[in-house]
């Protein structure tokens, strides 16, 4: 039984110099067989395991992770959470996640530092205005909080934005979702891992999957660097490497893996208390609790697993940031990195069964998966446990690429793909 984290446990542990905290999760060797195995110990994979154990009473399960948990794209994203997508299916999916975020710290007894500081999306041309107004109306019809802002209202909400009409792409308006915001990305992985571990889920790190064994049309188990693990259900949540795992099972997916870059500045005093995104000039920025500016750049257009992007992508983003925020002109950037994102042709994810019995994929989140972590885990757990999708992820099936029933969210992805 795990000790509950609280102000009292914090005080108690302070007396012993914080040297006696319980381990948050065990480090078990894999058993020979599990009822289900989740491949990928990022936020989505750990959340899937957590909800499988919590809501579907599947306790004899494991999460296998080739590195350490939360060490992949969970630790590389820019932590933005919002649900202001265009289509009904998307708002259903992302707002389900947002509602789970709102109670997540209490649910998993782990402070994920969820901060509803609002997300503003800027319009820089007439088409942006039309698109953002349409999206605002769509959001409100779906019960998502969204307002359209004039240039003056944008300036009032975030005074450091340069709203001069003389810049290359002037700010003509914007939208605001006040319930949106950010969270601490590592805490999400750690919190779900701790919660899943407590319910008996084995979290197996440094265990790379080398093969997926099939017996005709059903799965039999996985070959790993720690030996063969027998299982009848496999949930793959491997982000940029989804195609590699699909290939092991003899499947092809409609995905392309590309580098996506982000960067953070030196820490400074609080200067921007919201998240501002701009699709047209491709720049978005927020400020972490440590004081760093967190800046997201775009994807390169070529397939790569190299985890490093091109310099011109970062340069373009910083050009746009400097024009919108002249106040940042002398900031120094501390770190820059790239992660590999798996992008679907319609910029929507896949949370789906496959043609192979017992094999499920949760992938294709592209540039915006972090925000969906709790919802993605919950719905994927439902899909694995019942061998049927939940109504909220039914539209995000793999078969939509055959039927043509795509969920085209290129416009609502906050940055251009």
């Amino acid at each position: 039984m795990k000790n509950k984290y609280s102000i009292f446990s914090l005080i108690k542990n302070a007396f012993s110099y914080h040297e006696n905290w319980q381990k948050a999760w065990k480090d078990p060797a894999p058993k020979k067989e599990y009822d289900a195995v989740i491949i990928g110990g990022g936020g989505h994979g750990l959340a899937t395991a957590y909800y499988l154990a919590k809501k579907h009473n599947m306790k004899n399960i494991a999460v296998v992770e080739k590195g350490w948990i939360g060490g992949g794209n969970t630790g590389r994203n820019t932590t933005i959470i919002r649900s202001n997508y265009l289509w009904d299916a998307s708002t259903g999916l992302y707002d389900h996640a947002l509602k789970l975020w709102e109670g997540l710290s209490q649910e998993i007894n782990y402070n994920v530092m969820f901060s509803q500081r609002g997300v503003m999306n800027l319009a820089h041309n007439l088409q942006d205005i039309r698109d953002l107004k349409r999206r605002t109306h769509g959001n409100r019809l779906n019960g998502i909080d969204a307002v359209y802002l004039s240039t003056e209202e944008v300036k009032k909400f975030c005074p450091i934005i340069n709203t001069s009409p003389d810049i290359r792409y002037p700010v003509l308006g914007g939208t605001l979702q006040r319930r949106a915001g950010t969270a601490r990305h590592d805490a999400v992985a750690w919190g779900y891992a701790r919660g899943a571990d407590e319910m008996g889920v084995d979290i197996i790190q440094n265990c790379e999957v080398k093969g997926i064994k099939r017996n005709g049309d059903e799965v039999e188990g996985i070959e790993t660097t720690k030996g063969f693990i027998k299982t009848k259900k496999i949930g793959v949540v491997a982000a940029g490497h989804s195609s590699v795992l699909a290939n092991m099972a003899g499947l092809r997916l409609p995905l392309e893996s590309k580098p996506l870059q982000a960067l953070v500045s030196e820490p400074v005093k609080p200067i921007i208390d919201t998240v501002v995104m701009s699709n047209a000039v491709h720049a978005y920025v927020s400020q972490s609790d440590k004081g760093e500016l967190v800046i997201g750049a775009g994807t390169d257009d070529y397939i790569s697993y190299s985890q490093k992007g091109s310099h011109d992508i970062v340069e373009g983003t910083l050009n746009a940031i400097l024009e919108l925020y002249p106040i940042f002109s002398r900031m120094k950037m501390l770190r820059q990195w790239g992660g590999i994102v798996d992008i679907c042709p319609d910029a929507s994810p896949i949370i789906s069964k496959t043609g192979v019995k017992g094999l499920y994929f949760n992938c294709g989140w592209g540039t915006g998966g972090f925000k969906a972590t709790p919802g993605s885990g919950d719905l994927f757990a439902h899909t694995i446990a019942n061998d049927e999708p939940h109504k909220l992820n039914a539209a995000f099936n793999l078969n939509r690429f055959v039927s043509g029933d795509l969920v085209d969210e290129h416009g609502a992805a906050a940055v251009a793909h």
């Binding site: 997916l253 409609p254 893996s257 397939i303 790569s304 697993y305 992007g309 011109d312």
Partner: protein, 91 residues
């Protein structure tokens, strides 16, 4: 970020080029006879290889010609360049 040797112009920065994705995906000869599943395979399904990939590039900010490359997607190293219509070299 890497350099690409355009077979028509010589070595240029990658930012001058537009990536065209997986090469040698043949357009169906009888489009009207394709099933939905076969269309999905042609339009959407990709190998998305981690390793040696055959791919297309367009020198968008140069001669605007298309050509093929053999590139290792794990480290972006280009192994060979060959023109459209040519057989891929064995690496």
């Amino acid at each position: 970020m890497f350099l690409i040797s355009c077979p028509y112009c010589g070595v240029r920065e990658q930012s001058e080029f537009k990536a065209g994705g997986e090469a040698h995906i043949e357009r169906p000869k009888q489009p009207t006879e394709l099933s939905d599943g076969e269309w999905a395979e042609y339009l959407f399904m990709r190998k998305n290889i981690k390793g040696i990939q055959l791919e297309r590039w367009n020198h968008a900010h140069g001669c605007r010609k298309w050509f093929n490359a053999v590139r290792d997607t794990t480290n972006d190293e280009i192994k060979a360049i060959y023109k459209m219509g040519e057989k891929p070299p064995t690496i």
